[in-house]
Symmetry: D2
Subunit: 353 residues, 4 copies
């Protein structure tokens, strides 16, 4: 059976706005049963008290439950929903809806392929540590198989939603005498993102070894395609692998490159040049250079106690990419631990060719 990947990019008027998706379903443009993942940007602060992510997720679950005529709880098992908060600078809130359809036409050559994978649920004491790295690597493998992608070189973006530690989870572990990786719940987000990214790098052979001690310490180890995001609402890792593979029909291709720093517009230009065609989606990671400098110039992102550095970084990378792409409908996500080199990050583009 030939499959076909479909990607809808839907601008939203707010976190609660599911009208564009409802209309696409109601017009028969897409069958809600084919949706495997929704990745989106919402206009919160992208930090601890960003409730736009949960709000958007709840609104999407409500819509999908209604259209799929299933309980809301069942939606979670069918669709991976990853909301990334923060549309600083010119970034424009939107949803990327990924569908896997049955193709009527035969596949010719490689086309955009989507695979999904899940780890088991993690115990609090496993988050940010070796078990999370190992399980993520395994699940990336499964997701590649699910997508029919045989070679690591054909994987161009791996979006992961991973858990974090809460006060309750830490206390539960401590009652069992198990120590957690950090007492700081905010820092646990970084550790979980970092361990997940190292799991991707391991699965794809980008690094040979991903020791637990390297998590958020040894920045020389990183994946060139991982994009990880921590959320309170799950205990396992949910993985969406995007690549090109035979057996997929349609007219979509994906490619990526690595921004070596936040202003590396060339990386995006290279991807555009290789892909050609009409841009359908742009996905990138951003972070403030941990050295406090970009190409030898001081930046002030890390010293700003009014605006979190991740907010500055998204605004900056969003500006760099918008200058290249000519569009602000960009999925730029913050917190790039082990996702690209320090201060840089992956940028992937899906195009209609």
């Amino acid at each position: 059976m030939t499959r076909r990947a479909r990607v809808l990019r839907l601008p939203t008027a707010g976190p609660q706005d599911t009208v564009p998706l409802a209309q696409a379903i109601d017009r028969g443009e897409i069958d809600p049963a084919t949706i495997v993942a929704i990745v989106g940007k919402t206009e919160g602060n992208g930090c601890v008290n960003d409730f736009t992510r949960g709000y958007a997720t709840l609104a999407l679950k409500l819509l999908l439950a209604e259209r799929l005529k299933c309980p809301m709880a069942e939606v979670e098992g069918r669709v991976a929903i990853v909301m990334s908060g923060g549309t600083e600078g010119g970034l424009s809130p939107h949803l990327l809806v990924f569908c896997r359809e049955t193709a009527t036409a035969a596949a010719t050559g490689s086309r955009l392929a989507i695979g999904v994978g899940l780890t088991r649920s993690f115990k609090p004491e496993e988050i940010g540590r070796a078990p999370q790295i190992a399980a993520t690597a395994e699940a990336v493998d499964s997701a590649m198989k699910d997508a029919g992608i045989a070679s690591a070189g054909d994987v161009h973006f791996v979006q992961i939603k991973c858990p974090l530690l809460t006060k309750e989870r830490i206390e539960e572990a401590e009652r069992r005498g198990a120590g957690v990786a950090t007492d700081d719940t905010y820092h646990s987000m970084a550790l979980s993102r970092g361990a997940s990214a190292l799991g991707v790098a391991l699965a794809l052979g980008e690094i040979k070894d991903a020791p637990q001690a390297a998590v958020c310490r040894d920045w020389s180890l990183y994946s060139r395609v991982a994009s990880t995001s921590a959320g309170v609402e799950l205990l396992r890792n949910e993985i969406v692998v995007l690549g090109n593979a035979p057996g997929w029909a349609g007219d979509l291709l994906i490619d990526h490159d690595v921004m070596t720093d936040a202003i590396d517009a060339e990386a995006a230009r290279r991807v555009l040049a290789r892909l050609g065609g009409e841009t359908v989606a742009v996905l990138a990671k951003a972070e403030a250079s941990p050295t406090g400098e970009i190409r030898g110039r001081r930046h002030t992102m890390l010293d700003d106690s009014d605006i979190h550095s991740t907010r500055h970084a998204r605004a900056l990378v969003g500006g760099v990419l918008a200058g290249v792409i000519g569009d602000t409908l960009l999925y730029v996500s913050g917190g790039a631990e082990h996702q690209g080199p320090p201060g840089g990050g992956p940028v992937a583009i899906i195009a209609k060719v």
Copy 2:
């Protein structure tokens, strides 16, 4: 007598950091008596309670008074100091020091020319209104003459520092029975910037008429080279005109273009292509598109009650320009009323050729 413009671009470690300028003076690189203007970016919020501008100005006056062996009050009469707050995204704090030196070599062709002009002090009721427009236009004329620039087409950037209304100034006017343009001191900054920019447009023949009623209302009227900044510490307009003119020696040239929107990277690319050579300074204006959209995509800058829209806009334009220039040492200033089209703004580059 042949003149030569000198521009130093000095990274700073904080608003109080005058060490790089002191070193340039002490090394004999520049004679402090030749400094006519200092334009800089400081790391405040660029809004009402941004005290980094005043702090940097005080520190610079202290240094210059010491090196010029004159009272601090005299420094104000000799050097126009314009600090612009806000280094959001990747923008890097720095000073641009403009010097007018006597050249030993003869001038060949046009080179960077610097002219300075002043208006009289304005009464509170004149700010943001016809008298400020008219007086600014006259002073731009004077500054052009001071620079030896004969044609408006050779003016590429006009930096203006203009006054604003305070509670005290409004009350003083009211005691005299004179009404002011606005009771809102924050809004008076926009009106003063807008009236000043219209004065530039009038002086340079960019518009034929600049009626008072157009200030911050008729956005179709604007200058392509004005950059205006309101400050509490003065009651007149201080004007620095940058252009190219014969009679100036040296190896510096300036050129400019207009960004039609915040992501118009092409504008900067065109300037770079025309100028060639090594970039010495970049000056640009930024603002959130008042329509709420950039190229048809919604932005969230105007609805964000946590981060002021001017901060978002600087981060965005800074990212767009850094992606083109490959450097974050950029003077990007917010509040672009009548400075370029709505949502866009001028971008000027000084290069060593």
Copy 3:
């Protein structure tokens, strides 16, 4: 038939947290069919881009639809839900659930009475103007009758949720040739709150006349019991009147006083002293003194471009009241136009006696 007012004060763990209410229903503590209003504090910024209000409202509608076995759309008609964003300083997120039950015991003396009223939907051009004032006054009358409160002196708090202008609403009016009160959507919130508060003052005889021109201009006109809050999700005014009336059983009483400025702790102490008993709910309004001073001392709330003045004001009044009450579970809401004197506001307390 004797009625009885019930008030539950339920701490929440986040905007989405309906567990405490669900448990109260499931334990049989309250019958969901008796709920007439839910007033709550959520941890957003309380300004334009505060999505925690909508998120909490959606979560509550979901729960109530489930427990009432009715469509979500029907919940809106049955329960007035007013979420106020902003828990600055020590304020603690919580819900106040107001129920009207049938009492088994006879009423003795006056007890807490709850009345609900609605206006018709307003056209955009009516918002912030005379029609909104007049319709609100009528609806307050209705709500008093609904509560069985005969005398204005027995009304102690009037909570109103009112509409605001959006870009779309303004454009719709303009297409019909109708001008709106303001083009500034943020300012429309103030006008709508102000007109609604003047409607309350008119209904209760606190002022004799409420001319349209006074809205957000003549601060000498105000209600001592109004608390109004603007939201995007409605076009009419929803009114909850709280007072004491015969015909109501139970052990709850309400009383109020007016804080003449933000630090007027005495006002709360007077209410506590008159009521006695155990405090069940505290409701108050807060705003930054528009003169820029509190008892002759300068405050910086209105000049802070990093934190909105309403956020400062809630933190401050929350601190003042917490110092008196000894609890941070306080409903302190910002934006007090014509709700108490300038810089001050009403404070109401419900106690079990």
Copy 4:
């Protein structure tokens, strides 16, 4: 020789405002040579990028150098200047100027006494560790002797300005092979404040032992009178001890109590009741309760990524104290490590009796 303490409380119009102090000197109200300390609140964010502290300090040094006819560098040796950023909520920017004058009248009973002490300069690796604790304890002893205070029970407030780690200082230590207490410059502020506060507690016998391992870990150890503030501009601890002692004339007395949590208004009421008289100055410390709760109610200060918890805490404690004192001219400073119990802090009042 009899001494007399003089305390001026001067409202300021901004960080740069030295006019009130200049006028007090020029009117002959105080002799600038008698000023030993200036403690003030400025309207920055009180966090890393708060430049209002440095700005105010520079402006004060300029004034004092002029009036004392000495170089600016000498002012530092003569006057301890401690600026605390953050006037959230209703707090009003002001300076407290402490003078030690020669009294003409004889001293009768105990009166306000001011002592000053200094430690040696610390090496980077000593900051936040045992050497800083020990040296601070010694310097508090000296300052008590300087003030003529014999008993620890007569000490009511110890204000300390202490150093922090910068990137440069950490690197300098590392070049010598010396490890520092933390690589995180922001955290170094907490460690330095904490170690300094433990030094006070040790000197005053509030604790018997202050092991290095307790710094910012064992919150059961704390001083009831310490108020410490970290700044980048010094390498030693500067200590101002305030207490009551014989040998001092005048009409000022100081007393203090401990707020057990942020809303403990009773503590301030007790001090007021004991002192009587007219309040001349109020000094207090504030912090967000590290448990996330105040008297069992959840607060959101620690989860707010838009506003730093120290800003919330100052607004809250400022509100609580303003409700008691009836004035917003309060020195409320954030960051209360080992200064009062967790979530609480000392409050001291100076009154004219």
